[in-house]
Amino acid sequence: MTAPLLDVKDLKTHFFNADGVTRAVDGLSFTVAPQETVGIVGESGCGKTVTALSILQLLPPRLGRIVGGRILFEGADLTALSEGQLRGVRGNRIGMIFQEPMTSLNPVLSIGHQIAEAVRIHKGASASAARARATQMLDLVKIPDAARRLDDYPHQFSGGMRQRVMIAMALACDPKMLIADEPTTALDVTIQAQVLKLMLELKAKTGAAIVLITHDLGVVAETCQRVVVMYAGRKVEEAPVGQLFAQPAHPYTRGLLASIARGKAGARARRLKEIPGMVPSLREPIVGCAFAPRCQFAIDACRAQLPGLRPVAGEPQHQAACLRIGEVLAS
């Protein structure tokens, strides 16, 4: 295996406010190989977005801080870079797409200007070269009549079109990696299908690795090669996508998959499997497995200490942080 493009090691990102510390990400490790698509899934508050913001060092100043761990990207530790050096990475080596394109685009600048700006700053391109690149990028993301739409403003585009513009902008500098945080969550399902298809096409064309952050296991199943499942700021399972869906080994992953509403034609609506209880508060330090209070397999040992990651069924690529893998798989 070649050296990973991104190597996150024991990342801890905590938020500090008046009433205490929130351990949003608490000891997360994962890697992304060049040209790989890795999904990070989990429910609200599991730390997946904070992970993205940590990699890019875009945490809200004063509130959020990386308190431990390293983020190696192309061999350099991003946590040790100066703000100036980081600027050379963000938007250049690492592209970003966020959930709501309207709030991530500047409403008073034309989209051509916004795409060209990144190219001028990062690549030192001339104004006309940058504009040509912007046209080319809009064309690439299949915005009809690209050259003419360059001077349009974000509000003149539909939601799906805006997300295409974001993708064009993120890829304009030929990044090695694209971080996409819920890129299709705000879109209608037919538009979501268009945008996901486009992302995969462009990935094949440009060879950029993708870190796809989402709560939607359907999106993960259809786009990712490898999946990291997060719960309460920690990784509970990691596996190649086929493995994860065929043989989920962590009780949380199982619960998540079972609770997805999928109609079975013919049968009158049956009860869905629920995960009882709620996500724990990240304000209190969590002893043992964070999922133990909601887990039907939990034993005393689960509550006593944090279970480390262990291989599932002898597959080194498939790991779960659970003491009871054997019982879970047998159930």
Binding site: V189, A193, V219, V220, E222, V241, R262, G263, R271, I275
Partner: protein, 323 residues
């Protein structure tokens, strides 16, 4: 469907005027709902699906008379409620309730859960204080909120719990029909399952009928008895869930079903990716509204709007072609 429907709408229309300028002249008209008809039987779940702007939420609001229809008729329990006075309508809403998508925005942040659920009882039921309190406690317990919920404020609940609270409030006056507008869309999937289970249990217990508005086909396929698919203000297909999912007749329904990502990486299927965006409802395309994105469109589709038709059964679709 057996017996008379508990709720039916006939040729329901809602046109919004777009006004501009100093004189507020009408410059355009948005046909948010443009001739929608369906019937809901007691104890049944009819799902209204479609993408943003298709008019599904407007239909829900029209039925509750939160906004007034431009034309058409709404019949609830055999009585037309389309033009009832505010006063008379308030009375009807005891049996016709709504649950909204965002429970945080639809619950008064300054009232405790007990007051929120108790308010409808106070307004309509002549119960004593003690009786009322007992009923509120029973309602909260029924939706899975503990007795300690009584004195808590909405912000003290999680999203799923707030939606339970919204459901408890809707149930307070023993309604016959609940319009549920994207009730689980804002919730995480494991919590979605909890709320959907609760809704199905309550339906069984209380014989509720749901008009369930959703964009999520997974949820719809799970909870629906019948499904109506909307596109730009009109129903393009309506039928029994099993039939509609197994053999969708309208190309839009097909695309919608095929576009929903499945949590199964091994699933091999033909994905229909529609080109383009939903057209603006201000300037809907001529003929069949869907023809601009339809891979099968022929000349007739551009000229003539297809009426809903069937192959003899209850499954109806608005398409000129026999796909």
């Amino acid at each position: 469907m057996t017996g008379a429907p508990i709720l039916s709408v006939t040729d329901l229309k809602k046109h919004f005027q777009v006004r501009r300028g100093l004189l507020q002249r009408t410059i355009a008209e948005i046909k948010a709902v443009d001739g929608v008809s369906f019937a809901l039987a007691a104890g049944e779940t009819l799902c209204l699906v479609g993408e943003s702007g298709c008019g599904k939420s407007t239909v829900g609001r029209l039925i509750l008379r939160l906004i007034d229809a431009t034309s058409g008729d709404i019949v609830f329990k055999g009585e037309s409620i389309t033009t009832l006075s505010r006063e008379a309508m308030r009375d009807k809403r005891q049996r016709l309730q709504i649950v909204f998508q965002d429970p945080y925005a639809s619950l008064n942040p300054r009232l405790t859960a007990g007051t929120i659920v108790g308010e409808p009882l106070e307004n309509f039921d002549r119960l004593g204080r003690v009786e009322r309190e007992g009923r509120v406690k029973a309602l909260l317990a029924r939706v899975g909120l503990g007795a300690d919920a009584l004195n808590k404020y909405p912000f003290e609940f999680s999203g799923g719990q707030r939606q339970r609270l919204g459901i408890a409030r809707a149930l307070a006056l023993s309604p016959a029909v609940i319009v549920a507008d994207e009730p689980v869309s804002a919730l995480d999937v494991s919590v979605q399952a909890q709320v959907l289970n609760l809704m199905m249990d309550l339906q069984e217990e209380l014989g509720l009928a749901y008009l369930f508005i959703s964009h999520d086909l997974g949820v719809v396929e799970h909870i629906a008895d019948r499904v109506a698919v909307m596109y730009l203000g009109r129903i393009v297909e309506i039928g029994q869930k099993e039939e509609l999912f197994a053999r969708p007749r309208h190309p839009y329904t097909r695309a919608l079903i095929s576009a929903a990502p499945l949590p199964d990486p091994g699933a091999k299927r033909e994905r229909i990716v529609l080109e383009g965006d939903v057209p603006s409802p201000m300037t809907p395309p001529s003929g069949c509204h869907f023809h601009t994105r339809c891979p099968f469109a022929v000349a007739r589709c551009r000229a003539e709007y297809p009426e809903l038709r069937s192959d003899g059964g209850a499954h109806r679709f608005a398409c000129h072609l026999d796909l």
